[in-house]
Symmetry: C2
Subunit: 353 residues, 2 copies
Amino acid sequence: MQPYWGHHFYLPNQQHPLAQAVNESLEQARESVSFLVGCDAFEVVFTGSGTEANNLAILGIAQDQSPGHILVAAIEHDSVISAVESLVKRGWQVESIPCDQFGRVDADSVAQRLRDETVLVCVQLANPVMGTVQPIRQIADVCHKRGVRLHCDATQAFGKIAVDAVTLGVDTMAMSGHKFYGPRGSGALYLRGGLELSPIAYGEMREMGLRPGPENVPAWVGMGVAASLVSRCIDEVEASFCELRERFVNGLHSSLEGVVFLCPEDVLALPNTLCVQLPAVASKVQELARQLVVRSAETDAPPDEMNRVLTAAGRSPGQIARTLQISLGWTTSREQIDRAVDMLADACDSANL
Amino acid sequence: MQPYWGHHFYLPNQQHPLAQAVNESLEQARESVSFLVGCDAFEVVFTGSGTEANNLAILGIAQDQSPGHILVAAIEHDSVISAVESLVKRGWQVESIPCDQFGRVDADSVAQRLRDETVLVCVQLANPVMGTVQPIRQIADVCHKRGVRLHCDATQAFGKIAVDAVTLGVDTMAMSGHKFYGPRGSGALYLRGGLELSPIAYGEMREMGLRPGPENVPAWVGMGVAASLVSRCIDEVEASFCELRERFVNGLHSSLEGVVFLCPEDVLALPNTLCVQLPAVASKVQELARQLVVRSAETDAPPDEMNRVLTAAGRSPGQIARTLQISLGWTTSREQIDRAVDMLADACDSANL
């Protein structure tokens, strides 16, 4: 990214010979992102974040049509749920799709809720709390049979599992650069070729007329490099995550009694995302095992994402209070896994003294 | 910015001791920006660009109220004009405020256009093409007498002249980091304490509930450092710009006949922005003096910003075709000014051969 803060400060469309080089770098980044997504470069719209990509996909389709019906999974990210809910005051009908105890959204339950007025269905690829991977292909088939567009928030999946937009059959898909070791301030929306979308902000339009303002070249170049890296090593990463996950699950089971992993092995889930119910209060464990960066549900109202997702999966407040979420990263080692298991076991013991 | 891409990757509100340090850095950046703007830190809302800040100020006020009347200067930036015009299809009435031949918007002509239904007036602080600085204080007084909010796009002014939001009396004011040597992807909106505004995108809300998505800490820290630098040296910068401008004006007048500077000395204008009518076709001069990065109007339809602004100032198509815009930067030297004068004079001669 460094050169694009300084020497290559030009914008891609400026009247200067050096601007051409900047333009080429930006289009190279677009190629790298499209390769990761499994689509054509012209189907990639750069944004400032995954949140912006979700807002663009949802508000952009609603922008220029009369109010209709939207289906949104109960366990979606805030940026999806809030964007959809903002349309209620403009006359749109919003309906929630439930999930099962493992956080799975069923294609049949989507099919049952589709109406003639349904314009859009929003189901994420993978849940950030439970890790659950959704049957997007089946949901896409159900949607397309009725001519309904499917938006898929895939921000949580990139860098953890292989993703292919065409195989998934989605119409729009959001991604966030910093979720796969790219820089903050970078994101993108996959928009299937031929589909229409309206911008949601205005100015000097870039990114195929869908985003105003100067291109954030450094951020998008950085995202492109991260995308190349993910494309190159995702198989190894996934295998390594699976091994580490198994080590963690086995380790915790043998060190502690009464541990429940919320996604059992036969449920399709991200291999790096672990949601575990402990035999102790999670926030207390978190406090006692300070060296571990883990997440527990915030108990204060309004409910946070973790609370919301676990409640949708049928967990009681008491169960949620004992649930911890742990994510593995690319640099997580076996030794760290073992230490994490020890720390958690010790913290649980201390918490219950 | 470097530490915030790596080690200090935490988000300000995360449950981790190191997140506190990130939060402090972000609030330090907000202090630096507020010092530059002449306001309190809680009146600064960070955004991803000046374009986003303009959209937020305009669409955010329209979001939760029934359609009214908006006044917008004819020479505003695209992001202001297009955001305002997007409201027409939602029932808003939009009216343009003309300018005089020097690009000046008169407070009286604003006063004459204010109606009972007027909700917002948009007038920029300084024009990016002609450099004209507007009588914002008088326009603010006229607006406030009628209880109307004034939004001021000040993106072009920071780093060139001293700006003080309180003295100007504006209600909202947009700025862009990369316009004063901060990074791309950084911007801010000044929102006068006590004023209400609605967000225009949704998700995990940050920035006082006005912007969703994770904070772009590296970009905003970079913008803060740039803001401190501007605060420290703006008087010297302004004095230096004035000297260089005089040198350029005198130099070009003595090397070429038939040169007209569009903002004469008695018109308040940015000291670094020069708009000059040449005795030759500007695009040809631009082509011949390739080493100079200058701007000429794009003749293709739709008219570009330069075309639009110069037309609003009463310039004919023939005059516009001979007009060049030149900007001085913090590192521009006397020698560069002299070379630029020589290059332009030579290019004009060659263009007319």
